[in-house]
């Protein structure tokens, strides 16, 4: 599981996750995600390259997202695969963390 970050215009932090967000994958990115959540106020979590998302991986997205939202920030999820999006919808996460497939819309939602 790999994680990379990019600072975009408008104060947006883009976090790209790459790999399987299973138990091991979640453990691999937890600390970095929490550190990012500590400093970011507009967080775009890029899920394009996430090939699997289980409930343990979901936790690694939800906890940092909660941290950002609790300080008045915004979080969006970007471009999950069909199966990953199904996990997000089934768990109800998409109602709180909006899912966008168009980057412009995702960035607009963060402003």
């Amino acid at each position: 599981m790999e994680l990379s970050t990019q600072e975009l215009d408008g104060g947006v932090t883009r976090v790209a996750l790459d790999g399987r967000m299973d138990l091991a994958g979640a453990a691999a990115v937890d600390m970095k995600m929490n550190l990012i959540a500590g400093s970011a106020n507009k967080l775009l979590i890029d899920l394009q390259k996430v090939t699997f998302l289980g409930s343990m991986g979901l936790r690694s997205i939800v906890l940092p997202a909660r941290a950002v939202k609790s300080k008045g920030g915004k979080v969006v999820l970007f471009a999950p695969t069909e199966m990953v999006e199904s996990v997000l919808k089934t768990s109800g996460i998409d109602a709180i963390l909006p899912v966008h497939h168009d980057l412009a819309n995702a960035l607009a939602a963060l402003q």
Partner: protein
């Protein structure tokens, strides 16, 4: 850490050796690393489609981590087994057995499975496992065993 019925080292020769039908895991989360290679080998054996395979991984990870974290309460020194059987064409069943106290994940009686009472509750960790297992499996059945539990998760490979 592995206690496979037949050695995992035989699996790379997938054209020759069938994967073992049983995987035995210790009651520690890091033993779950054995799941992926085992399930991948079974996917070849039973021609499990990619979408169904996603569901298999998701359900097994959820069910087994539940046994370790809740059933055994995180205590080391226990084991659980996962058997893969195909009772009929286009169906595979994964049967998880443990020796934990009564623990029925299908009933949704786990405290953290209560419905969210406010939007922010959705962001509470946990509480989504049973929803995901119901969505991504074909069937779920729980049986209380003498001294243990059995959870059978079925997948219809034609879907």
């Amino acid at each position: 850490m592995s206690t496979l019925v037949s050695p995992v080292s035989a699996m790379p020769q997938k054209d020759i050796a069938k994967p073992p039908s049983r995987l035995t895991l210790k009651s520690q989360l890091d033993d779950m690393a054995l799941l992926w290679p085992w399930v991948e080998a079974l996917a070849l054996e039973y021609a499990i489609p990619e979408d169904a395979l996603f569901g298999v991984h998701l359900c097994l990870e959820e069910a087994i981590s539940n046994v370790i974290r809740h059933g055994y309460n995180g205590e080391p020194g226990h084991t659980l087994s996962v058997d893969c059987v195909s009772p009929k064409a286009h169906e595979v069943l994964f049967v998880i057995e443990d020796q934990a106290p009564p623990f029925d994940p299908v009933s949704g009686s786990i405290p953290e499975e209560q419905p969210a009472s406010s939007p922010m509750d959705y962001l509470r960790p946990g509480g989504r496992g049973i929803l995901l297992m119901r969505k991504f499996s074909g069937s779920l059945a729980y049986e209380r065993l003498p001294g243990g539990n059995r959870l059978t998760i079925g997948f219809d490979l034609t879907r």
